[in-house]
Symmetry: C2
Subunit: 127 residues, 2 copies
DNA sequence: CAGTATCCGTGATGATACTG
DNA sequence: CAGTATCATCACGGATACTG
C-alpha cells in the first residue's frame, strides 16, 4: 500500500523501500496535470501542440515537464520524427493505459457527484 | 468530462459551467494529500491526531487545510465532541467512500507497476 | 514545431506561537 | 487535543526569449 505503516518486522527494510518508492510514484502521478495529460491522451496519438491545445490552462513548461516525468516513469512513449520542422508524437504505453482506466473512474466520480458537492459547498458556506 | 472541449453549441453555457466546476473539483481532489487522507480514512473513524500520525510527512497545517476542503466538498464528515480536551472525529461520507474506491485503484496500479516503473527509470537515466 | 533556458512573482508549505 | 494565525522561505509555475 501507498499508505503502509512501519511494523518493525524483519522484512521492513524492503517493505519501506518499496513503500517509499510507491509514495514517490504516487506523488508524481497524483497531480492534476499528469492525470489530465493521461486522460486526454486516451488511446490517441497526439503531438505536443495538440496536447497543449487539448488541455485548457496548461503552460508550455508544465506540459513539457509532466511529459518528461510520464516518459521517465514509462507511462508515455515519445516518438521523434527527424523532419523539419520536427514532429513529436506522444502515446500511452500499456501501464499508461492501465492508469488511464483508474483516472476514468476519477472523472466519472467527479461528474456523478457534481450535484452533491455543489449542495455541500452551499451548506458549508452558510455555516 | 473533466476534459470536455468547447463546441459552440447552444447548451454550452451550462456545459462549460458544469465543466469548469468539474475541473475545479478535480483540481481540489487530485492532489496527493487529499487522496492520501481519503485512502487512510478508509472505513474507519479517526481523530485529527490519528490522521496526522497515519500519514507520514503531512504537516499539521496541510492536514487541517485538506480536511476542511474535503469537508466543504462533502467527502468527509467532521464530528466535534465538546469535551475538554476536545475530541474531533473524521469519517468518510458516501461520496467519500465512492471516491476511495477509485483511489484504491490508483494504489493498486502503483504497486502492480512498481517494477515496470523502476526499469523504465533506469533506461531513461541511461539515455 | 518542439524544446531548453532564464528570469521572476506568488502561492503553497512548514515552523512557530497562541487560543479555547 | 484541535484549531487558527502569522511569518519566512522556497519551489512551482508563467512569461519570454532563444536554438535546432
Amino acid at each position: 500500500m501507498v499508505t503502509k505503516q512501519f511494523t518493525g518486522s524483519p522484512e521492513d527494510a524492503d517493505l519501506t523501500r518499496a513503500d517509499s518508492l510507491a509514495r514517490e510514484i504516487f506523488s508524481d502521478i497524483a497531480n492534476k496535470w499528469a492525470l489530465l495529460i493521461t486522460e486526454v491522451l486516451g488511446d490517441r496519438t497526439l503531438r505536443f501542440s495538440e496536447l497543449r491545445d487539448g488541455i485548457e490552462g496548461i503552460s508550455h513548461k508544465m506540459l513539457t515537464q509532466n511529459l518528461r516525468m510520464l516518459e521517465r516513469n514509462g507511462l508515455v512513449e515519445r516518438t521523434v520524427y527527424p523532419t523539419v520542422p520536427p514532429r513529436v508524437e506522444y502515446t500511452l504505453t500499456e501501464p499508461g493505459h492501465a492508469l488511464r482506466v483508474t483516472i476514468d473512474g476519477l472523472c466519472n466520480w467527479t461528474h456523478q457527484h457534481l450535484g452533491h458537492i455543489e449542495d455541500s459547498r452551499r451548506r458549508f458556506e452558510a455555516n
